[in-house]
Symmetry: C2
Subunit: 149 residues, 2 copies
Amino acid sequence: MWLNDREARVWRAHLALHRDLQAVLERRLARDSGLSLADYALLVPLSESPDGLVRARDLATAVGWERSRLSHHLSRMESRALITRETCPDDARGAMVRLTPEGRAAITAAAPDHVATVRRTFLDPLTDADLAALDDIYSRLSAALAAEE
Amino acid sequence: MWLNDREARVWRAHLALHRDLQAVLERRLARDSGLSLADYALLVPLSESPDGLVRARDLATAVGWERSRLSHHLSRMESRALITRETCPDDARGAMVRLTPEGRAAITAAAPDHVATVRRTFLDPLTDADLAALDDIYSRLSAALAAEE
DNA sequence: CCAAGTTTGTTGATGTGTCATCATAAGGTG
DNA sequence: CACCTTATGATGACACATCAACAAACTTGG
């Protein structure tokens, strides 16, 4: 029932690694570009979409957030003029989210440094074999997680 | 400079996996025992310490938190009678944190189910070779992260 | 010994995430 | 069509995390 030494070490390392990685990325991104990781996460799918226009529901799916969190965060981003909200033509319940020029400028300015930090802290220390192993492991873990509930 | 397909897939899988894993663990723990993951993280080192007594500074180090976060969270846990605060005999600045019987009962009741969930969602899908690979990878990544700043 | 610098813990303000709830609108079934 | 169920998004209350600032106590170099 309890974890053996290696299990406990790997599990704790997983938690600690993610905690510290998140903290470093968050700090650097905020310092360099005034964006949070949450802002960045939303700006990526928006900037990749034609006209920077995505339905809120689809944005929630893309980033894996609950609708409530998305709604609150969009309000904050709207007040900073990174996005605007429009009505959805197909579905009167829906809301469309549009990337503003300021929003596009923000992600364009932030991305290179952010990607570089991800490289330095995560990808560079990994060999090709590591990457292949992680690719396999993560796909199995996410399948196991999907089975939960 | 940009990530290739596999790099992007692994990086996004890493983020998504941790996000969803955290969400499942948080929900189950809260539902089954009324504790948050933050509560649990603090209760573990406290319950492992003789007399359930740990200096606040050392607790912060053990869980990797900033002092401010720890102080706020201890206040909330104190109001729920999970811990108490005492003066530190060696250092008049310090604060000692003591696990109450209620706190010990809470972690004792919560641990088996929580560990079982960690097994089901994280450890069970991994082979011995996976565990060995992760052990190695995580130690390299945490070294790289320590070099950052 | 003393002044300067550091460590420890707390606090209040602010930004953020979650939960329960709500209003509105779509979809499905009789 | 009417009815029930589901989906969508917003909101207010609350729990939580981060930041800057602070007070008190320890440490160190002169």
